[in-house]
């Protein structure tokens, strides 16, 4: 029995070693960002790999290396990157995936299959559509001295917080891609002067394809609020054309709280969606002077009207681009699945009537009366 115990104890040594699956960080090339572009029938890809550069006296600083390859599929691209990067090319820490608009217009699902399928892949990676080729965004490796991945990541985080772009990661794309009653929206990034990047707005998709249309600035924010997917705040400037002085023409509000409710009604067998958006706002810019109680009520009414007009423009763009970003098909599917089956939602969405209504409630004038 003693021998049996000793044998049992020794057999423990076999699993404790864990040497088959050890993977040293120092032997890996950790990719932090990757861009995909259409290159004829192939994919052109550029990935930034972060390494540590010695700066003397035992100190190191992160340093970006860019590698450009072509391949037929994302896995092919990864294999090609593995051949040229020192150590094993690893996507385990990937922070951002950039997709060029031309490639996004074809079909984005094949780009993500690898990330969905592999247990080891990181699906919290952010996904962005770029105006122009994605490779051009990444090739310098830095923006104003900041590492490109960090810069893009920070840009997106602040954009999400200020309701300029949707929170889009590989992981949360899966449900929308397969949902027949909703379409994807992704952040749209563009390059501006001096190599700086700008969060342009929301890229609109019809199923897996980028429609080429987008909502920018305030309209993008309004769409996100209508979806109940806004960030902490959103800023809107409304132009008062009746103002005498040019300086007095703009009224700026910042949302504090918002709630959107979408209802489906049927009129002579046709669906009509009403989107009721309630906004609690602060007045952050009002140059006309004092705001008393009566003025505030009037202003709220005026802002509600203006914001409703803007919301109508948003829904018009959605119809035109055939992008059901609000998940209206899903609402019909829940309320009346049989009627939903009678629609070819990807094609019929452009004819769906959407009636938005925004109600603004001013909760503060700032610290001025």
């Amino acid at each position: 029995m003693k021998l049996l115990k000793i044998l049992c104890l020794f057999s423990l040594l076999v699993p404790t070693a864990g040497c088959w699956d050890q993977s040293f960080l120092k032997q890996q090339s950790l990719a932090f960002s990757i861009g995909y572009d259409a290159h004829g029938d192939k994919l052109k890809s550029l990935s930034t790999v972060r390494t540590l550069k010695p700066t003397g006296s035992g100190q190191t600083e992160p340093f970006n290396n860019s590698y450009e390859v072509t391949g037929t599929t994302p896995l092919d691209v990864r294999a090609a990157l593995n051949e040229i990067t020192p150590g094993t090319y690893s996507m385990g820490k990937l922070r951002v995936i950039l997709i060029g608009e031309e490639l996004a217009k074809k079909d984005i699902y094949p780009l993500f299959d690898l990330y969905f399928r592999e247990a080891r892949s990181n699906i919290n990676t952010k996904v962005i559509i770029t105006k122009g080729k994605s490779v051009d965004f990444l090739k310098n490796g830095y923006i104003q001295g900041n590492l490109i991945t960090d810069a893009i990541n920070e840009l997106l985080l602040s954009g999400e917080k200020e309701s300029l772009v949707p929170k889009a990661t590989v992981g949360n794309l899966l449900s929308t891609i397969f949902d027949p009653g909703e379409d994807i929206t992704l952040p749209l990034l563009e390059k501006v002067q001096k190599g700086n990047l700008k969060v342009k707005g929301v890229a609109l998709f019809n199923k897996r394809k980028f429609t080429g249309k987008s909502l920018t600035g305030e309209k993008a924010s309004l769409l996100l609020l209508m979806k109940n997917k806004g960030g902490k705040t959103a800023q809107f400037s409304v132009v008062d054309k009746g103002a005498k002085n040019t300086l007095n023409k703009k009224i700026t509000i910042i949302t504090n709280k918002s709630k959107s409710k979408i209802r489906l009604k049927w009129d002579s067998g046709k669906p009509i969606y009403t989107v009721d958006l309630k906004l609690n706002v602060f007045i952050s810019e009002y140059t006309k002077g004092i705001l008393n109680k009566r003025d505030v009520d009037k202003l709220a009414e005026f802002l509600s009207k203006k914001m409703t007009n803007m919301a109508e423009e948003v829904t018009k763009t959605l119809n035109e681009s055939n992008c059901d970003a609000l998940g209206l098909g899903h609402i019909m599917q829940v309320q009346n699945p049989k009627k939903f089956k009678g629609y070819d939602w990807d094609k019929d969405f452009k004819d769906i009537k959407i009636v938005p209504k925004v109600k603004v409630h001013i909760i503060s004038n700032g610290i001025l009366y």
Partner: protein, 368 residues
């Protein structure tokens, strides 16, 4: 079984509560929403509610049996109510069933480990990682095993806590409309996910070793089955709400996928890898419980009880895994699950009600 000696310290009703929960939270829980969604689609959560009710009834049957035979375990009761010969045949079949389940759980654990964390480690080594600590646990005193379970239950709580972080990304309208899926399909879904409760009969192994009144034991059984069913309801609902029924059709391990999407406090991510490593702890409990069941059945049949028998059961499971590992894939595992489904249903829904009916008809009762 070594843990089931007469001089074993009895376990408390709370420890029984923990043991029952862990006997049912096995490694197969990770694919539970996928299996439920295959049949019940967006109403798959109703399948779990059906099981909740079904297993509460089984709980009542188990307590009724225990009330009639307070000192006897499942296999001893079978011999009393069925007679010696039929009882022994019945116990042998049940023992073989639990051995098969133990092999299946071991293979499933190996598949998960290979897919997620140990792709290059040889399969026999992965089996040993599961089997060696299980052997140690199975050989321990029952109260030591119960204490282990009381600690291991925190992993289940941690899992629920981690899933809660995905709630902001969930869309609960994916669970609607109620009644769109035919009831027959929802029931079929319930039947297909029922094998996750395979360990339910272990209650009759541990009840005689539990201290306290019948009321306290009944409460432990009732609340443990309720707790685990509610945990499953939460997990299935959370996965459908996060992924939607269409995406769930292709994600075979939705619970791990859900954990993959979670980031806690902006820096703590890849909870799937953490969870699959931690889940070895509750999985060991579930595995040991199957071994306990097989061992108790075998000792009842051969009327012998020693460490060698327990050890040989582990060797059998190891050999069983080696024999059936050649095509270890999700397809093979799902096929195995489908093949075992009728036996699972008989073992879970047939055994205890049959024993109770026979006990009532044959007026067998040793409590008075």
């Amino acid at each position: 079984m070594i843990t089931m000696q007469v001089n074993d310290k009895p376990i408390s009703p709370f420890q029984l509560y923990c043991i029952i929960i862990l006997s049912i939270t096995g490694i197969m829980m990770f694919s539970l929403p996928y299996i439920a969604n295959l049949y019940g689609k967006n109403n798959a959560w109703i399948s779990v509610i059906i099981l909740l009710i079904g297993f509460q009834l089984i709980g009542f049957v188990i307590i009724a049996l225990h009330k009639r035979f307070p000192e006897k375990d499942l296999f001893a009761i079978a011999e009393i109510v069925m007679g010696k010969v039929i009882g022994k045949i019945f116990n042998t079949l049940l023992t073989l069933y639990y051995l098969f389940i133990a092999v299946y759980v071991c293979l499933y654990g190996c598949f998960l480990a290979m897919e997620w964390i140990l792709p290059l480690t040889p399969k026999p080594v992965i089996y040993l990682i599961l089997l060696i600590p299980s052997l140690y646990l199975a050989m321990a005193q029952l109260d030591a095993f119960a204490r282990y379970n009381s600690i291991a239950i925190f992993i289940t709580i941690w899992l629920i806590f981690a899933i809660c972080f995905a709630i902001p990304d969930m869309q609960f309208s994916y669970l609607l409309p109620v009644g769109e899926v035919p009831l027959a399909k929802i029931f079929k879904g319930a039947i297909h996910i029922a094998p996750i409760y395979s360990g339910v009969n272990c209650i009759l192994i541990y009840l005689p070793k539990t201290s306290g009144t019948i009321k306290a034991k009944g409460k432990a059984v009732f609340y443990s089955l309720l707790t685990i069913s509610l945990i499953y309801l939460f997990i299935v609902s959370a996965c459908i709400a996060l992924l939607g029924t269409h995406a769930l059709d292709i994600v075979i391990m939705p619970v791990l996928y859900l954990l993959k999407t979670v980031t806690i406090f902006s820096f703590f991510e890849r909870l799937d890898i953490l969870m699959i490593s931690l889940w070895l702890i509750p999985s060991l409990s579930a595995f040991v419980i199957y071994i306990h069941l097989a061992f108790t059945g075998l000792t009842q049949v051969i009327q012998k009880k020693n460490k060698i028998i327990l050890f040989s059961l582990f060797i059998l499971v190891f050999l069983g895994c080696l024999a059936s590992q050649s095509n270890l894939s999700i397809y093979a595992l799902h096929k195995g699950r489908s093949l075992m489904l009728p036996y699972n249903c008989i073992a879970m829904f047939g055994v205890t009600p049959l024993l109770l009916i026979l006990a009532v008809i044959r007026k067998k009762n040793i409590s008075r």
